[in-house]
Amino acid sequence: MKHSCKNSIGARHFQHLLVSMKFTCLNKGSGYYFPPSYILDVSGFRILLDCPLDISALTIFSPLTTQFHPQLVNESSRYSSMDMEFEIHKRQKIEQPLDRGNFIRAEPWYKTVTDLHLWDPSSIDIVLISSMTGMLGLPFLTRNKGFSAKIYATEATASLGQLMMKDLVSMHSEFVHIYGLEPNFPQWLKWEELELLPSPLKEIAFGKDGLELGGWRPLYSSEDVQVCIQKVEIVKYAEETCYNGALILKAFSSGLEIGSCNWTIDSADADIASVSSSMFASNVATEFNYHALQGKDLILYSDFSANENMEDFEHGNKYNAPTMHPSSTLNDSTVDCKNVDECLLNSEELLEERDKLAFVCSCVVDSVRAGGSVLVALVQPSISLQLLEQIPDYLESSAMRVPVYVISSIASELLAFTNVVPEWLCKQRQEKLFSCQPLFSYAQHLKEKKLHLFPSIHSTELLTNWQEPCIIFASHWSLRLGPVVHLLQRWHGDRNSLLVLEVLRCLSCLSSQWR
């Protein structure tokens, strides 16, 4: 049993002395894989929101060339790429194309939120996590000696985040295998070496203003991950957590991903809502809870990555925002709540997502029909999960029998996890619980042997089961880590094969390795 805390008179009173809060943007964010992070000083407490890793920065490294025969054929495979909008990107190359030799051949380092290192870790009181990608950089923070902040994440986000970190550490170990232990300060990180990089890669390494070099870190260990996860306090949606008798923190579903959330921070000074990237409706995750934003004094919208027209927050700028008093926009709305709910559920977003998934599925079928294989590399689990459900059905209705493999160190854990979290899913999936059906239909595909899970590309079961053409789901990691590297190497010369990719940065950097 645990003590619950109640606001004491004394604590509440003290906060009256502080009437303004301070907002400092550390990283403006660029989509689901790299959510924005910022520092919020409120009522005398320092709150850090999200601590991600820039996965896309991995592109400056060269992937491992494996014992697989490297066939350097002309570009012939078709790229159907997906970004947040699932549009097909056909970017024109501005410069001359990059080639193999341009990439750094060394054990990769990882790019964290650069500006975070300007802050004393011991000065942070609270860390709030909004999604699983928002916690990938946490072990860098928690292994600091002075770090003692309380970290809050939803139960589902913490589980997914832990899985993803585990996957990262296990994928990365392949490099350590090849390159051996690197010195503390690797050769490539030297100024002279970096100067030689082609400009797109240089920009990734240094940042636009040349200040981001300090953000690079060698990867954490699995022990670091363990220690980090133990420090995370897990909460449910709408669970009230009282910090130090002064702040009441609550997580509300943001609709983006299983467990992803927006936070509300209530103090004696002001009630604040911090809204991260959200989706009104989802075919997987619990619906966006906008009721939670009602009656707040201040709403911080932090993620405009999906909407470039919005005002651009340059990071590093400080805003001293005096807290407003009850006059929030949602407060005055006179719209009937029920109607709003209905609008949101039938929102275009959802229909658009459905259309895009259907489009991808039909592309997959086309490739397979032409005798090619398909490689699906996505960051966001909810998209992969839906494709895992739908692709076997599409194949079946096109009367094609092609195996679907998921190759990942966490494949079986991830799928087992998604079938035991009804509380974190959307209404339609909860209905499945109440009518005693598996929450995701791939449970059935697994049973019928249409879908197979393998921990790695080298597992013997995979080799004995191997059948081509096939459809393979592998984790993204900017096409630099794990099974995706080997498979691309195998199929990139096949004009009938298809790569379904979530685009993080400029496509030319990501894929030119394979030209």
Binding site: H3, S4, K236, Y237, A238, E413, V420, P422, L433
Partner: protein, 651 residues
């Protein structure tokens, strides 16, 4: 304002749990159960007591169901679909998933086996469940702008919850059924330390204190093993969900461990469906099962198979789980009829059976015959083993919970009247908390809380933050430890800082309440400081020598010269300082002083403060006039009574 608590069911009994609580204008129904022991209108709570007009939507803010047992949810479809309640109904995700199974099972037994007219249909159950809003644990849910509810883990069965409800400043917890110790597939109840006006708790085992669970499990396994080893059949009447899974895990493990091949059967086709649910809801089970779910799902039993009716009279030993529990009808009754007459067979009964069921009849004494109805009688020669482990908390657990929550009032429900009385006495005498044991139809009223928000003054807050250090040197308990074992001998000095702040609560009409520091009080009130002073004039005996008589005229003791006065004061001072060595005694010549106490020789003839006691003649006495303030009252009287005994001499 008062909290009003109307008990519609489970008052001084177990069955049809249903309590209506009115709290600051909101009205909540906790549980909507049915009674397994009756098949007339007594089966359901008397809903007409809620609303004469039958407009339940207006009468109730919401319905909260704690878990899927029929004595807690059995009347819900009747209440929503037949009585027409349309308002919100809350229960946890597992309860919403599993309750319809229990209800449908019960409905079938009612219709198919007993041939009764059903009180609700399968469609009613479906429609009813559509109205249910599912909850996760700890989720804070606003039913409306004033009523807040929250569920806490209760153990007992999958998805069972205790419910916290708060309206304004009044708050309460309704426990439903709970277990304070973890079992194989569920964790122990867990709740925050809350400020409560009222706790309504179950009291099934109001007087039982249980020993180790391990011993009780062994006892059960031994009985089952012995029976099958002798070729007997074991009947375990149970409901499809709950105990069945717990006992299955237990038996499956034991079978595996002992390498037994005797078949274990499960009667209802519900097993597969139930397992499916348990697998999806694995996060609601015990820590141990949760940890391993990705590799091994504990609800996939290796040794358990489905039972066919034809196997009832098949030869050879077996173990059979048959529904419903307590042998209240259905398949378990059918099997019971066949197996009860043989002394080789064993029937295990749960720790608690509702009055009116066959299970209850078997438990009361050792009957050799049981009446099924007017015409049919069954010989009972089989062995009967009563399971002594149960998903309910024992008396110690109830006391622990009450103590932990320390509510202002306790109401006991869901128990047997005499035992509840004993527990009530215990709660009142040991924990000093008023406790009530209402019967069905009774209403209990208790006062509710209203917090007044008081503003604290700056001086008061500053005084609160003043440290109040006390330095204690802790005794060296571990002196035996050699320096090697204890390489880091930390200083033995302990510092305690128990802050004590004194303030004054000022509540004036039409003004906000404030807490201020005592130093600010006079300023706040616009008053001057008033001191309370005591005065007393009393005689002290004086011994006059011949010489002084000559020197000083007899009548003029009151006009003693200053030198004489000083002399006498000095005398008193000397005597007092011998007697009161620890006080600070000051001789100011004309008067003496200790703290606020001051004494001088009184030369007035009619002093206001003089008290004549007549014991000594004034002629030989000298009067001392004393004043002191209230703080030194005790000291003053000690000095006065000492002085009264003195005899002073003037020479």
């Amino acid at each position: 304002m008062a909290i009003e608590c109307l008990v519609l069911g489970a008052g001084q009994e177990v069955g049809k749990s249903c309590v209506i609580v009115s709290i600051n204008g909101k009205r909540i129904m906790f549980d909507c159960g049915m009674h397994m022991g009756y098949d007339d209108q007594r089966r359901y709570p008397d809903f007409s007591l809620i609303s004469q007009s039958g407009d339940f939507d207006a009468a109730l803010s919401c319905v909260i169901i704690t878990h899927f047992h029929l004595d807690h949810v059995g009347a819900l479809p009747y209440f929503t679909e037949v009585c027409g309640y349309n308002g919100p109904v809350y229960m946890t995700y597992p309860t919403k998933a599993l309750a319809p199974l229990m209800l449908e099972d019960f409905r079938k037994v009612m219709v198919d086996r007993r041939g009764e007219e059903e009180t609700f249909t399968a469609d009613n159950i479906m429609q009813c469940m559509k109205k249910v809003i599912p909850l996760d644990l700890k989720q804070t849910v606003l039913v409306d702008s004033d009523l807040l509810i929250r569920a806490y883990y209760a153990g007992h069965v999958l998805g069972a919850a205790m419910f916290y409800a708060k309206v304004g400043d009044s708050a309460m917890v309704y426990t439903g059924d709970y277990n304070m110790t973890p079992d194989r597939h569920l964790g122990a109840a867990q709740i925050d330390r809350l400020q409560l006006d009222l706790l309504i708790t179950e009291s099934t085992y109001a007087t039982t204190i249980r020993d180790s669970k391990y011993a009780r499990e062994r006892e059960f396994l031994k009985a089952v093993h012995k029976c099958v080893a002798d070729g007997g059949k074991v009947l375990i009447p149970t409901f499809a969900l709950g105990r069945a899974q717990e006992l299955c895990i237990l038996l499956d493990d034991y079978w595996e461990h002992m390498n037994l091949k005797v078949p274990i059967y499960f009667s209802a086709g519900l097993t597969i469906q139930a397992n499916m649910y348990y697998k999806m809801l694995i996060k609601w089970t015990s820590e141990k099962i949760k940890e391993t779910y990705a590799t091994h799902n504990a609800f996939e039993f290796k040794n358990v198979r489905n039972f066919e009716r034809s196997l009832i009279n098949a030869p050879g030993p077996c173990v059979l789980f048959a529904t419903p529990g307590m042998i209240s009808g259905g398949f378990s009754l059918e099997v019971f009829k066949h197996w009860a007459p043989s002394e080789k067979n064993l029937i295990t009964l749960p720790g608690y059976c509702v009055a009116g069921t066959i299970g209850h009849k078997l438990m009361s004494g050792k009957p050799t015959k049981v009446d099924l109805d007017k015409d049919i009688q069954i010989d009972v020669r089989c062995q009967i083993h009563q399971l002594s482990f149960s998903p309910h908390t024992d008396a110690k657990g109830i006391m622990d919970l009450v103590k932990f929550l320390s509510p202002k009032n306790v109401i006991l429900v869901h128990g047997e009247k005499p035992k509840m009385g004993t527990l009530k006495e215990k709660i009142q005498s040991e924990l000093k908390i008023p406790c009530y044991v209402p019967a069905n139809g009774d209403t209990v009223c208790i006062p509710s809380t209203l917090f007044v928000r008081a503003q604290a003054s700056e001086t008061f807050i500053r005084s609160c933050t003043n440290p109040n250090f006390r330095f204690l040197s802790s005794s060296c308990e571990d002196e035996s430890m050699s320096p090697v074992e204890n390489p880091n001998p930390i200083s033995r000095l302990r510092v305690s800082d128990e802050r004590v702040s004194e303030g004054i609560l000022v509540m004036e009409k039409s003004k906000k309440a404030r807490v201020i520091h005592q130093d600010n009080l006079l300023l706040e009130l616009g008053q001057k400081r008033q001191e309370l002073q005591f005065a007393y004039c009393f005689p002290v005996h004086v011994d006059r020598s011949e010489e002084t008589l000559k020197e000083v005229p007899f009548t003029a003791l009151d006009v003693l010269g200053p030198s004489h006065k000083r002399h006498l004061i000095q005398l008193v001072c000397t005597k007092l300082s011998d007697q009161f060595s620890e006080v600070d005694l000051l001789n100011h010549g004309e008067h003496l002083q200790v703290e606020s106490f001051s004494a001088c020789i009184c030369s007035k003839n009619n002093c206001h403060h003089r008290v004549f006691d007549g014991s000594r003649e004034s002629s030989v006495s000298l009067f001392f006039c004393c004043t002191w303030s209230a703080a030194d009252e005790k000291l003053a009287w000690e000095i006065i009574s000492a002085m009264k005994k003195y005899t002073l001499s003037i020479n």
